[in-house]
């Protein structure tokens, strides 16, 4: 590979000057990406376009798990409507990125199999594309039938439309239409142009990943402002992130039990989840950790009393969670609904570019906490937990193991917390960002890798902001996992992935 064709970011978060990102012509850009992505340790963490002056600038970031580096390269295009050769036809995982660029700016991608809308943003290029005319894949046959579900679902969950093509009770094909949750967050990030409003927006991207998105945002801002935070604060942020993971994993264990009518498993896990989110509430006054993550400091430094109370809650929760999960995962009536259901193969995971849990259930040991550590994970990288069977059982077990692992991690970190110097630094919202720069910040939330990136202008104001939730990739993985399954197994498959609608729709 030619060194001058891309710039490598060695530390997750470090900014680079925009002018130092090599601009390639499209054939070189295309070939280099193809070559980089043929390495199984590499995957694309961001690929998007944004307008600068009268040009459309494409930026692509490829992360390598082994070297911890992130290669950044770019391409510029004057004519928006020119047809570019699609990377998707070579590397299918790129399909969502190209669809997004097509939807936002009208760029055509030749040989792209599936240039369908992603989220119907308010400033989309094709105004004629509306929620009601999504081009669903159809099969003409007298033996097949279609089932449409949503946007409003039976449970209290977010909206999205699922269109199944079924052969009898079996799902031949599932297509998922999203966009109902689109609030225009990326645009508001620029329009608001107020650091504190941006922080509140980051906490509202996905209410189940407040800490993961909040940390990605603060990591990005702190690196662009060249602001280092104390070790103590980094440890506290890690603890908050793992509390979020534990709470959701336990809550999802309850939801999985509910879907297969194992009521004891459901109610016990519901009660355990409550104790975890109430711990977060004890810490900062909000059960989801809103208000806990702030740039430069914290309004809620941990106190000895809080740490003591948290540790005893975690101890008790772990004991009871072990008891109930040992029961859940040995009950034949539960296992028969989990085992071999909704399998995602490793091949499919790679094909769709699955990240986070959806990758790890197929044996891919990909975890940003290890490959591109952030905050205190830099001192203390986490060994990823994996499963290999890729089914509902694997997704349940992965939650079980990760929740236990996170409780262990928090215990270790609290010891470090005692050694770390006290820091009562308050948040800082009057930061000055490095001008004409690009930065990318990755975190590993409970669902998978969260990516925020930004470009600054001449005065250090943010001129472009990009957010990526793991769901952006993983919805396609869910669609593949339910093929050839009974349609009645869809709820438990969907729940086991628990993907975010608002995280995708933004």
């Amino acid at each position: 590979m030619n060194e001058k064709n891309y710039i490598e970011i060695l530390n997750n978060g470090s900014p680079v000057l925009l002018k130092n990102i090599p601009v390639l012509n499209y054939p070189d850009f295309y070939n280099l990406l193809k070559e980089m992505l043929s390495d199984p340790d590499s995957h694309c963490v961001a690929y998007y376009a944004f307008p600068v002056e009268n040009m459309l600038k494409f930026i692509c970031c490829i992360a390598n798990d082994k070297t911890s580096g992130i290669a950044v390269l770019s391409h510029e295009q004057k004519n928006h409507e020119i047809a570019l050769l699609s990377l998707t036809s070579e590397i299918f995982a790129m399909h969502v990125y190209e669809r997004e660029i097509h939807e936002n700016f009208g760029v055509q991608f030749r040989n792209h199999p599936w240039l369908k809308p992603i989220r119907y943003p308010s400033d989309r290029f094709y105004k004629g594309n509306v929620m009601n005319n999504y081009p669903f894949y159809q099969i003409e046959s007298e033996e097949l039938h279609e089932v449409g579900v949503g946007p409003v679902h039976a449970g209290v969950i977010e909206p999205g439309h699922f269109r199944f093509i079924c052969n009898g009770e079996k799902v031949l094909h599932l297509e998922i239409q999203l966009g109902y949750q689109h609030r225009g967050i990326e645009k508001l990030m620029i329009q608001k142009n107020d650091p504190f409003q941006r922080m509140i927006l980051s906490e509202s991207i996905a209410g189940d990943s407040v800490i993961a998105h909040g940390l990605a945002h603060t990591g990005l801002i702190e690196s662009l402002a060249e602001h280092n935070v104390s070790e103590r604060l980094q440890i506290e942020r890690n603890i908050a992130l793992e509390l979020e993971r534990i709470a959701i994993h336990i809550g999802d264990t309850a939801a999985l039990c509910m879907d297969v009518a194992y009521q004891l498993g459901q109610v016990v896990n519901e009660a355990l989840r409550t104790t975890i989110i109430n711990t977060t509430q004890l810490w900062c006054g909000n059960r989801f950790g809103k208000g806990l993550i702030r740039p430069g400091g914290s309004n809620y430094p941990s106190t000895d009393d809080f740490i003591k109370s948290m540790l005893s809650t975690l101890e008790e929760t772990l004991r009871r969670y072990e008891d109930i999960t040992d029961r859940i995962y040995s009950l034949p009536s539960v296992l028969s609904r989990f085992d071999g259901i909704g399998i995602l193969t490793q091949g499919q995971a790679k094909l769709t570019g699955a990240v986070g849990m959806a990758a790890r259930i197929t044996g891919i040991a990909r975890d940003i906490r290890k490959s591109h550590p952030f905050q205190y994970f830099r001192q203390h990288p986490v060994e990823p937990v994996t499963q290999i069977s890729g089914d509902v059982l694997a997704r349940g077990m992965l939650r079980n193991l990760e929740a236990r692992q996170s409780i262990g991690l928090i215990k270790q970190w609290t010891k470090k917390l005692n050694e770390a110097e006290e820091s009562n630094k308050k948040p800082d919202y009057n930061y000055k960002l490095q001008p004409e720069s690009f930065a990318i910040s990755l975190t590993e939330g409970w669902r998978g890798e969260v990516c925020h990136s930004a470009v600054t202008g001449k005065n250090g104001n943010i001129i472009h902001y990009k957010i990526k939730d793991p769901s952006f990739h993983n919805w396609m993985a869910l669609a593949l996992a339910v093929r050839n399954q009974e349609i009645s197994d869809f709820p438990v498959c969907n729940k086991s992935f628990n993907l975010s609608y608002c995280g995708n729709d933004l």
Partner: protein, 252 residues
């Protein structure tokens, strides 16, 4: 079986016996109290800083329908603004969501605004259809929690149902995105009369941090009266349940 008995024993009784008398942790961010009026300079500072323009300068007050409960105004003026852990902040009167300076008064329902049919038909059984209209999933999770083993609002005959056809009203979360506007209308139309509308969370009540976004379309709310506002970011299950109990006239 012995394992399950052990689990059941450990699990014990999880339900909160009296949902109207719970004391939440001291740091919980509920109803703010403005103990004394800030001076003009201070007012200017907090009004400018508030991310959702929830602080009203004249007369000085905090609009809980817009507040995201970030507590930054308290951090700026700790001896003048204090967020208490009072979670009973739901009301049917939009004006009552504004906390005035110097007044430490609980937020209550306005009985004159409760429609007669609500207490007549729904007092002992209220079935609701939830519509997430671009909610960030935190309010949705809290609404789910309202029916869980701890809060168990089912004990009052209050329940979420799968179809608007089976519902007595709708509960909206989120600022209502343009892309969800039509589905919200269809869902409301499918609910039989008489029906109620409850808005849960700051995003639903005012648009919150999303106010002014081009992707949001709140015209649905211009057409119908709202029967209950449940503020919060997200609204706590106890705020939601106590609000409904007051609306139904079930609270002592």
């Amino acid at each position: 079986m012995f394992k399950e008995l052990k689990i059941i024993k450990q699990h014990g009784k999880q339900f909160v016996p009296d949902l109207t008398a719970v004391e939440l942790t001291p740091l919980f961010r509920g109803r703010p109290v403005i103990s004394s009026l800030p001076d003009n300079k201070e007012i200017e500072r907090v009004v400018r800083f508030c991310p959702t323009r929830a602080i009203l300068p004249e007369p000085f007050g905090i609009d809980l329908g817009k507040c995201v409960f970030c507590k930054e105004c308290q951090f700026m003026l700790p001896d003048k603004i204090v967020f208490t852990n009072d979670y009973k902040i739901a009301t049917n009167d939009r004006k009552r969501l504004v906390v005035q300076g110097g007044v430490d008064k609980t937020i209550e329902l306005n009985p004159d605004l409760v429609r007669r049919e609500i207490r007549k038909y729904f007092k002992n059984s209220l079935k609701l259809r939830q519509i997430s209209a671009a909610g960030d999933n935190s309010c949705e999770m809290e609404l789910n929690a309202s029916g869980n083993v701890n809060f168990d609002m089912g004990r009052y005959g209050i329940e979420f149902v799968a179809s608007p056809r089976h519902a007595d009203g709708i509960v909206i979360t989120g600022p209502i995105s343009e892309n969800m506007a039509e589905a919200t209308q269809i869902c409301y139309d499918a609910t039989p009369d008489p029906k109620i509308i409850i808005l849960v969370g700051t995003d639903a009540i005012s648009g919150g941090i999303f106010e002014g976004s081009q992707a949001v379309n709140r015209s649905f709310l211009d057409k119908y009266p709202v029967d209950l506002y449940v503020p919060g970011n997200p609204a706590h299950p106890l705020t939601f349940i106590n609000g409904i109990l007051s609306m139904l006239g079930k609270k002592k």
